[in-house]
Subunit: 225 residues, 2 copies
């Protein structure tokens, strides 16, 4: 498995990917080297993710990085970027998602941080709409609780490209069976299979918005949100 992390300079996402022994290579493209330096100094428990030998660090603009990436080379791409203002604005626009889809193999998956359902409903709608046009496998929205984030939640856009179907709600390797999780001295404190499935339950107001989008003539692909 080849995985790409966009952003994620604190190292936390790397640390969690590294639990999975099936992963052979983890590219990370972070635009701001200082994020990494600060994390190494003040958040060693997160920055430990950079110590895995499978990690390849690229400092630079992910748009540029993806433009040069070989078509279909990644099994999974995880976007852990800052909020979509200023330089990160491009990361919620269509060309970026098209580049992601191009870099994924058939049936490859994207997990993209996608704001708060309470505060950014319209932005979420726009992102879902773009992803439906771009990802011909499936498009889901999920969320979980993060006490320190505004409104206490963070959402995720979870998509797959056309190819072998991906059952996001029922992972082939549930986290409890992942070897790296059992062996690791660092026990998971929050995430488990029940929390995984629960993350896909959406409040009615979000389901309604999403179903309006589903029925619009621009919608493409199978959608299970």
């Amino acid at each position: 498995m080849q995985v790409l992390v966009v952003g994620g300079g604190d190292g936390g996402v790397l640390r969690e990917i590294a639990r999975h022994s099936s992963v052979e290579c983890i590219d990370i493209c972070e635009i701001d080297k200082m994020v990494i330096d600060v994390s190494k100094k003040f958040f060693p428990d997160l920055a430990v993710g950079f110590e895995d030998p499978r990690v390849q660090l690229h400092i630079g603009d992910a748009i540029e990085f993806l433009r040069n990436a070989k078509e279909g080379m990644y099994d999974a791409i995880i976007v852990d970027s800052s909020d979509p203002v200023g330089p990160a604005q491009e990361l919620v626009e269509k060309p970026f998602f098209e580049m992601i889809a191009r870099a994924l193999r058939p049936g490859g998956v994207l997990c993209n941080m996608a704001e708060s359902m309470w505060l950014h409903t319209h932005l979420i709608e726009d992102m879902i709409s773009i992803c439906r046009q771009t990802f011909k496998g499936s498009v889901h929205y999920a969320w979980t609780n993060v006490p320190t984030y505004p409104s206490g939640v963070i959402g995720f856009l979870i998509c797959s490209t056309a190819g072998p179907p991906v059952d996001f709600l029922n992972p082939i390797n549930p986290i409890e069976k992942v070897e790296g999780s059992r062996k690791s001295s660092r026990e998971l404190r929050f995430y488990n299979s029940e929390m995984h499935a629960a993350a896909f339950a959406l409040p009615s107001f979000l389901k309604r918005e999403v179903s309006v989008l589903r029925d619009s003539p621009t919608s493409v692909g199978r959608v299970y949100v």
Copy 2:
């Protein structure tokens, strides 16, 4: 069905109970009349709950009210109280839960607001431990996201007394089938059957705490948390 609300002076819980046509009588015992007056003035969308003809308002101390309540008279009791400091401290202690259990019919249910899993883990453990000793049916913990609450969540203790078993995760009348919900001009914006089931998924740190409690010699009754 006979329902009792403890606290809940804003009227929101009443409004939601009133959707259910099976409910014949809703007693509410609120200690602070001013909460009701303020809600009627500034939050008419919540206070509308008091307009249902089945509502019987009692201004006073719920401890006193429950002491005088007929044994086994309620099918459900919902505790929507303030945080357990000062006068509300008694509402997280054993005698209160014993009075609740006494006022419920066999197989009757309690839903009790139960703090934040992030901020009050020990208090939650204590409440679960007390409820296991008191409620001989089942004891669950559930939670959902409320953006305006500290840490973005609120929890619930959901218990039943000995008697006909209650399957809390799979309600006999899912909310989508409740007549009052279909007819009402006020559509549900958040709650639905998927969100209901998802609320019972617990993060690993809470599951672990809870399973330690379950294995302690004081634990009594069947527990599904």
